[in-house]
């Protein structure tokens, strides 16, 4: 079976500046969310342990994706399946879920689809669940461990107060938590070789029946106002005094 890892192209959050409470995206490079990288690592681990044939990274975004995807191919994915469309960067979960599902249907012998539990930017956590519903597959979210045994997966779901070990039949959708592994950092050689790995590229308008009705309207998206005192203290004693004067300690 093949493992599909769905990854989202997002702006590098460290490089977003805020001006007049508005995020500024000029010259901010694109990358993948950090938990997406853990999902990829989980897929590559399955392959390295002989439990998957190929790891195919699946992503939808604007044309920059052809370059961004090298990062995933260098980190161990065998192939990429890209769906390109100008309006796909930042498109809402319901649209992306349909687009990704259309891609998955074109990939052979998919046994498992891995997602990060939430994207690095919006962290809404909807797309994996929506894809599972469209496909009618079982799902396990928040996986801290994934084992494949024949046509079943045994997955440890990490909840707030407990860990739940569940068995699901394949094919299935799994979303992972960052604690599942430490994602590898590709070497320079791997990055150079990544450009030569196979990529299948589909234009969004070649896909059938994507319902693009907006289900969400964004009224505003602003940095929160901060009214902190920002008092610079010179010593530990002064800090203690300040906190005491506020009845905090």
């Amino acid at each position: 079976m093949n493992v599909v890892v769905a990854m989202k192209q997002i702006p590098d959050l460290q490089q977003i500046r805020i001006k007049n409470r508005q995020p500024v995206f000029d010259d901010v490079p694109l990358t993948f969310g950090s938990i997406d990288k853990n999902a990829l690592e989980a897929g590559v681990n399955l392959k390295e342990n002989g439990l998957a044939d190929k790891v195919i990274v699946l992503s939808a975004g604007n044309e920059d994706l052809e370059d961004t995807i090298k990062e995933a191919l260098a980190a161990g994915a065998d192939e990429a399946f890209l769906i390109l469309g100008d309006d796909l960067n930042g498109a809402e979960s319901s649209v992306i879920a349909q687009v990704l599902t259309a891609g998955i249907k074109q990939i052979e012998d998919v046994g498992l689809i891995l997602f990060g539990e939430g994207s690095g930017d919006n962290y809404s956590g909807q797309v994996g669940s929506r894809v599972a519903e469209i496909l009618g597959w079982p799902q396990v979210g928040y996986a801290g461990a994934v084992k494949v045994e024949g046509n079943k997966a045994v997955v440890t779901r990490v909840l707030e107060d407990a860990e739940e070990v569940v068995e699901v039949s394949l094919p299935a959708v799994i979303t992972v938590v960052s604690g599942i592994n430490e994602a590898r950092i590709p070497s320079v050689t791997q990055i150079l070789k990544a450009g030569k790995k196979p990529k299948e590229i589909v234009e969004e308008d070649e896909l059938d029946e994507i319902n693009k009705d907006a289900l969400i309207t964004t009224v505003s998206n602003l940095a929160p106002e901060s009214d902190r005192k920002r008092v610079v203290v010179k010593s530990t004693a002064e800090l203690v005094d300040k906190l005491k004067s506020e009845n905090m300690i």
Partner: protein, 306 residues
């Protein structure tokens, strides 16, 4: 006004969502699945509870629970479904929304009704911004962040039975392992001492714990200290993919202040930041800033506080 259906596997979160339902208006009904104790507690708090008892249902099977909620919403004439944005609720939200053709917002921390629009606030861009969004269309799924609303307290609740038949779950639960007894709830703590990557060594943790004990705080950390260094378990992580905390006091030691972290602590009442870098981002969101080595500061604080 549209009917509202409330569901959470957690009683305390269900109570908070009932308060959120009150902000939206309309009549809220609560679905309780295989949990008599929860049904009683919610009814005692004044909620109209619809109790579903069916051993074929497993909360671990998100697809099945989504189907149950869809049917319950149809039977109870609810277009708006409010869930908790804990992990169970968040996983369920997307599946349910897809099933009923609804728009969905998760991690909603505030709700404001503006005419016929239910405007919801949630963090965006990794926490750098707060987005105000509303769902178009009649069908809506909203997952409400824990601790964003006070627990509901009313009177005149009721317990009703609801019957939904559904094929048995295909997701098999092999084992449930409760987390270790040292589990802390940093999101509920009044005070936090939070360490970041400025902490030199695991051997320095005892003095951090000593400081926390002296001021009645819990110890928390930034994500890399838990996931990369593994000095703390995941329950201690403050931030977007950790806990969103709103303590009275946060003493933040050796944290640079990336947004994915600060989103988890920016609602603290008082923030003190100790960092060797006087230009650290964390200093811009602190009430008291001390540019110094955290190890020295903690030793001195422990001495001063006796």
């Amino acid at each position: 006004m549209a009917g509202i259906l409330v569901f959470s596997d957690r009683t305390n979160l269900a109570l908070e969502i009932l308060t959120a339902a009150g902000v939206i208006g309309g009549t809220a009904k609560v679905l309780v699945i295989n949990n008599d104790e929860q049904a009683q507690a919610l009814s005692d708090a004044g909620a109209d509870v619809y109790k579903l008892s069916n051993d074929d249902i497993s909360l671990a099977d998100v697809g099945q629970v989504a189907e149950v909620l869809k049917e319950a919403a149809e039977k109870l004439n609810a277009d708006i479904i409010l869930l908790s944005s804990n992990r169970r609720g968040k996983e369920l939200a997307g599946r349910l929304a897809q099933k009923i053709g609804a728009g969905c917002l998760t991690d909603v921390s505030a709700i404001n009704v503006n005419g016929d629009k239910i405007e919801c606030q949630r963090n965006a861009l990794g926490g750098a911004t707060v987005a105000t969004q509303y769902i178009n269309g009649d069908k809506k799924v909203i997952a409400v962040s824990p601790r964003s609303f006070a627990p509901f307290a009313g009177s005149g609740g009721s317990i009703n039975e609801i019957d939904i038949t559904i094929p048995a779950s295909t997701v098999k639960v092999l084992e449930v392992k409760p987390k270790a007894a040292d589990t802390v709830d940093i999101a509920a703590a009044e005070k936090l001492v939070i360490v970041g990557q400025g902490l030199n060594s695991k051997d320095d943790i005892p003095m951090i714990e000593e400081l926390a004990a002296k001021i009645g705080a819990e110890v928390a950390c930034s994500k890399p200290v838990a996931t990369d260094k593994k000095w703390f378990s995941e329950e201690h992580v403050v931030g977007l993919s950790g806990k969103i905390c709103k303590p009275e006091l946060a003493i933040i030691l050796g944290v640079s202040g990336q947004v994915q972290f600060t989103v988890g602590i920016r609602d603290a009442k008082v923030i003190a930041a100790v960092n060797t870098d006087e230009n650290a981002t964390i200093n811009t969101m602190a009430d008291y800033v001390l540019t110094a080595d955290l190890h020295e500061v903690v030793k001195e604080m422990n001495e001063i506080l006796g």
